[in-house]
Symmetry: C3
């Protein structure tokens, strides 16, 4: 597992961190916060999931011993802030969030497996930690949490973390489970954004 | 203390986990989420309090090394989801929540004492961790948190955790403090649900 | 660093804990909660930031081994509760919050540095843990989070934690960086409360 954590997975981590930071800065820009507020939103959105993940698996919190993740968040927030909102593609925030969701679901499950957690627990930790950044962003900004939007959101994280964990436990060679999980999870979420796909809701009576 | 943790208390843990999971799945069903969303709500409602408890006392997070709690949550969510809402008793969500509140207040305090925390801190940790699952459920679902409903909620957790801790510190034999705390705490909360009992509110001027 | 943590900084900790507890109890009184609810709000507001700080730096959670912080919160909540709302100065909650913000930003950064965290990470941990108590209070009470009020809030925490960390890394003698950081941070926040100062918001288009 260590070679896996050392080759492809760090890119998932950096990708997840960057796009979640961008989605947090965009959410703050829409609420017309100042730059410091936007950078704060970028930071809590981007680090929230990974902080919970590291707490769950009793790893040192990833942005405390080394400041690179903090600096990366600030750089992304600065770029996202400087670009006028009308230059962004429609639903840019959700597309960033989709990349972050797939990347963090796989990376969270991989790090949990690496720290010796049970496979089902590791996949679950991947799902929860991928979803929680967006939830923190939405609740702190005072908008309905992304979980309530009746789209495939948790489901996409479940596909990403579940496929990665199943293929890893099945013994597939190192970058394949991570690639398969992240790409499939992103496709599910992308389909949900593009065509508003959803699973059948509860009947409600 | 270990024999205590090995006999009656695990049942409090399982009871609390199951009923909080049911209350989370019901809250999601009322918001017409799909099954994956409901299972996610069941999971964060049921594991939220215990995760915070284990973080506070520096114990390994209870659902990471062993997947049983995750599987139990999913099974409960599936059952809660499959049953039509009209079959549930009125205020079913609140009754489940009441059982979970009393069970987790006592179990949280017991586990904190077992890990060597100061008695007042242990009782406080029991109260906070019993209340936080419902708060996470409500805030994520976008409904006013149960703490704001002007009923005896924190008070019931206080009675459960406080009575358990006081009787344990006083030296009462093993299952008695847990039984007394959980039952009395549940009665206080049940009375509040049934007759909308409350303490006098702040005068407000 | 230990002599620093042993002389001036504990007072910052006690000051921050007390005034955040007062702001939590006041927020609960305005929502007309009962005394137990107000004490609970005081507790989660006052301990929320420090709990996250200790989790981030992997220190034992400060209110678990020793019950003094819990008892202090309850005593403050009792006083805040007993005093009629009309006796409080206008915006009392925000003034308490301002003292807590400056005190916790510096104390959080100092404790993180003391535990060996990287300077930028330590300052960031100070900012996040100073802001989070107020966010927990507001979101749980169902009012818009203080971050969204378009005032200098995160900025004041940034000034406090940043100035403290920069002066400490520059080698200034022990109580000076803490004094300079806490006082300057409080002045920034006080100016924002008094004259509704703010940084330029995002252009919004």
């Amino acid at each position: 597992m260590p070679p896996l954590l050392e080759t492809f997975l760090p890119w998932l981590d950096i990708a997840g961190l960057s796009v979640f930071a961008a989605s947090g800065a965009l959410a703050a820009a829409r609420k017309r916060l100042d730059f410091v507020g936007a950078a704060f939103f970028a930071l809590i959105t981007a680090t929230g999931g990974g902080t919970l993940r590291d707490v769950l698996i009793d790893a040192p919190v990833f942005w405390m011993q080394d400041s690179t993740p903090v600096i990366l968040c600030l750089a992304v927030a600065l770029c996202a802030w400087a670009i006028p909102l009308r230059w962004w593609p429609e639903r840019a925030l959700e597309w960033f969030d989709a990349v972050g969701l797939a990347a963090y679901a796989v990376y969270g499950a991989a790090k949990a497996l690496h720290y010796g957690m049970a496979p089902i627990s590791a996949a679950t930790a991947g799902i929860v930690t991928a979803c929680i950044g967006g939830v923190i962003r939405d609740i702190t900004a005072g908008v309905p949490s992304i979980l309530m939007r009746h789209e495939l959101y948790v489901t996409a994280a479940l596909v990403a973390a579940g496929l990665f964990t199943a293929l890893t436990v099945a013994g597939l060679a190192a970058p394949l489970p991570a690639l398969a999980g992240a790409i499939t999870g992103f496709i599910v979420r992308a389909a949900a954004i593009k065509w508003r796909l959803s699973l059948p809701p509860h009947q409600g009576h």
